[in-house]
């Protein structure tokens, strides 16, 4: 028996919109709320059309107050709803830090399971779209040190839709990070129907033998470019793994790949120190120490704020830098 799945070529922003629509249709407890998500359809158009289809009781323009948005979402989640709260940019999540850190992530434990916070916090993030300062912050690492939360980062339309639906259905709070640079940079074939991608599972973007390259979000773009080039320039075969979920990380996938290749490189645009790369290194250390043929390398943002946009191209890890690191690893 074969089933045919209707697919449609979508940008990531369409995949996200589609996931939201499907879940709003399916479950009357699903709500979308945030600044400009209603009438305006979101500053990136992620919620376009939803206000008209579902009305102001389900797709809600809120006051400009991140702590209020998350705080009231916690109350609604504890009382039966499934809020999907948008932070207009990840760099504006900081005022809600207390609500996320002390409540969204802890209410399940604090109430011994009586109250839970099944909610999704969506946030566009990352550099490369020439946005003003703060807008481009990549602070995913902060949220991987926050027990009770899951952190998800899709890199294409297919993953975005499947991971977002899985996040909405997840019984725990999920931070869903949307790399702005991927919103419209490419299209993928996406099933029109509902499907989910299990949280916590990485995706092998490209198989290879000589080095494992770990990345996520928009840095998959630079990474794939670098890998394509270097495979032509050198006699090297690279494995590229998109982690997709940053907490909990896919330990098996990391270990399996490093144990095969013996070398590892991690790419992210956030500052190196305290970045998620360190945790990937820790997982490699814990699982694959004896397999390593060279130190783990990382290519990351500088230990500086993401710069104003005139300098962001210097800031974002370039294919050149990635290639350099691959070479150093392979020739160690």
């Amino acid at each position: 028996m074969t089933t045919t799945v209707q697919t449609k070529s979508m940008t990531m922003i369409q995949g996200i919109n589609d996931a939201l629509r499907i879940m709003l249709e399916e479950d009357e407890n699903v709500l979308v709320l945030g600044q400009d998500v209603g009438v305006n359809g979101g500053v990136f158009r992620a919620t376009e059309g939803l206000y008209n289809q579902f009305g102001s009781e389900r797709v809600i323009d809120t006051p400009l107050a991140e702590s209020g948005i998350i705080g009231t979402s916690i109350g609604m989640a504890a009382n039966g709803f499934r809020p999907i709260a948008e932070m207009q940019f990840l760099g504006f999540i900081y005022p809600a830090f207390n609500q996320i850190m002390t409540h969204a992530t802890r209410i399940r434990q604090r109430s011994m399971g009586r109250y839970t916070a099944p909610m999704v916090i969506r946030a566009p993030f990352g550099a490369g779209v020439r946005a003003p300062e703060i807008h481009s912050d990549s602070v995913e690492a902060l949220f991987t040190h926050m027990p009770g939360l899951k952190v998800v980062v899709p890199a294409n339309a297919y993953d975005a839709k499947g991971l977002l639906i899985a996040s909405i259905e997840d019984p725990d709070p999920v931070l869903f990070l949307e790399p702005m640079r991927c919103y419209r940079s490419s299209r993928t074939d996406v099933p029109e129907e509902k499907y989910t991608i299990k949280l916590g599972k990485a995706a092998v973007r490209k198989e290879g033998e000589d080095i494992s390259v770990f990345t996520w979000g928009a840095m998959t773009i630079e990474t794939m470019k670098a890998v394509e080039e270097i495979e032509k320039e050198e006699n090297a075969s690279c494995e590229v793994i998109d982690l997709r979920t940053l907490y909990p990380m896919d330990k098996e996938a990391i270990a399996a790949s490093v144990q095969k290749t013996g070398r590892a490189l991690i790419i992210h645009e956030a500052p190196a120190s305290g970045g998620v790369s360190s945790e990937v290194m820790a997982v490699i250390n814990d699982t694959s120490f004896l397999y390593l043929r060279s130190p783990v390398e990382r290519v990351c943002g500088f230990d500086t704020p993401v710069p104003v946009y005139s300098l962001e191209n210097e800031y974002i890890p370039s294919p050149e830098k990635i290639k350099h690191a691959i070479r150093r690893c392979i020739n160690f």
């Binding site: 809120t62 109350g75 399940r108």
Partner: protein
């Protein structure tokens, strides 16, 4: 503003009923309030003793604030939501929390945050003012579902300085949710007196910025508190939106058993208030004036409550030790592999030692 927000009172310090107020509170209801406040006070006093004896850890007393807490909690109905702070055990007890669990709270037990099934009480909020948006959220959810349930949230004078106070009130007012913001103005945030906390003379007036109903009541007059909260709750139930209430009160004791109030205030003020504004004494005076008081009745209450408390203490002390599974249970619905590995390692090392 003091003129605009006079302190509403029904029973004054001498136990006389304010002739200008229409109240339908019966003697029976007042007696019930007296019982509830006595129960709360006796539990509080006992808890302070338990702490001194090392049978529970640091404890947060509320003596002096019984009218504010009992009067407000009594205005709720089953199914309503309550959001207490660490100091609001008189309120949660009144609303149906388990005395044993309240005591377990001071033993550093998660059970302390767990009310009986069907009683909607959030675990007491520790980060000041963070619970206000939650209350707006649960109320909003009830409104969306079309029920008539309300949310009642407690917070102190100090809490009004936090951003979450403002955001909670603003959301509640914008979405006109059925929430009652119940402030206990006990004059101090640990050592910081109200005049260092705000330039405003009242907390009630802070409702003006949200076009929200707001009022100021004598927080040591249980009748006034009950009446004001009842009115706010009714308004909320019937779609009239949120209310901010300021109940002016006083804590007799220290901020917690780890605090020394003599560092920052003259405790003789508390002694004076015990003789004047005290919420229980006031009802005693009232009931005596109404000839509804007998010493036998009062001591029978005391005995009954004493038994209840002793039983709860026994339950608390016999309660099984916290199991290590409580560390990771309920962090996620299903524990992540990280925690699983960590716990296995932990148990392995412990086992090796044992």
């Amino acid at each position: 503003m003091l003129d605009q927000f006079p302190m509403q009172q029904i029973i004054n310090e001498e136990g006389n009923v304010n002739p200008e107020v229409q109240t339908d509170l019966s003697i029976e209801q007042i007696k019930r309030f007296y019982y509830l406040m006595l129960r709360a006070r006796m539990l509080d006093k006992k808890s302070v003793n338990l702490q001194r004896q090392g049978r529970i850890g640091t404890y947060v007393q509320y003596e002096g604030q019984e009218a504010a807490q009992v009067g407000s909690a009594a205005a709720l109905e089953e199914g309503d939501w309550m959001f207490p702070t660490y100091r609001d055990h008189a309120a949660t007890l009144t609303f149906g929390h388990s005395m044993r669990n309240l005591l377990l709270n001071w033993r550093g037990r998660l059970e302390g945050g767990l009310p009986p099934e069907g009683v909607n009480i959030f675990p007491p909020a520790i980060p000041i003012a963070s619970q206000l948006p939650h209350a707006a959220g649960t109320a909003w959810a009830e409104k969306k579902r079309g029920t008539d349930r309300v949310s009642l949230v407690y917070f102190g004078d100090g809490a009004t300085s936090e951003g979450d106070f403002h955001e909670g009130l603003n959301f509640a007012s914008v979405f006109q949710v059925p929430a009652v913001f119940f402030n206990q103005n006990n004059g101090y945030a640990i050592s910081v007196p109200m005049k260092k906390q705000m330039h405003a003379k009242t907390i009630a007036q802070k409702g003006l910025g949200y076009d929200m109903e707001c009022a100021r009541v004598d927080g040591n007059d249980v009748a006034a508190v009950y009446t004001a909260v009842k009115e706010a709750v009714q308004r909320a139930r019937s779609g009239g939106g949120p209310t901010l209430l300021e109940a002016v009160t006083w804590r007799y004791g220290a901020h917690t058993t780890a605090d020394d109030p003599t560092k920052y205030r003259d405790q003789s003020e508390s002694d004076k208030r015990r003789e004047t504004t005290d919420p229980l004494l006031r009802l005693e005076r009232y009931l005596k004036l109404e000839e509804a008081w007998t010493d036998a009745w009062a001591s029978s209450l005391e005995e009954e409550i004493n038994d209840e408390i002793e039983k709860a203490i026994e339950e608390m002390e016999n309660y099984p030790e916290a199991d290590i599974s409580q560390l990771f249970d309920h962090v996620y619905d299903v524990p992540t592999w990280t925690v699983q590995e960590q716990i296995e390692e932990h148990l392995a090392v412990k086992g090796r030692k044992a």
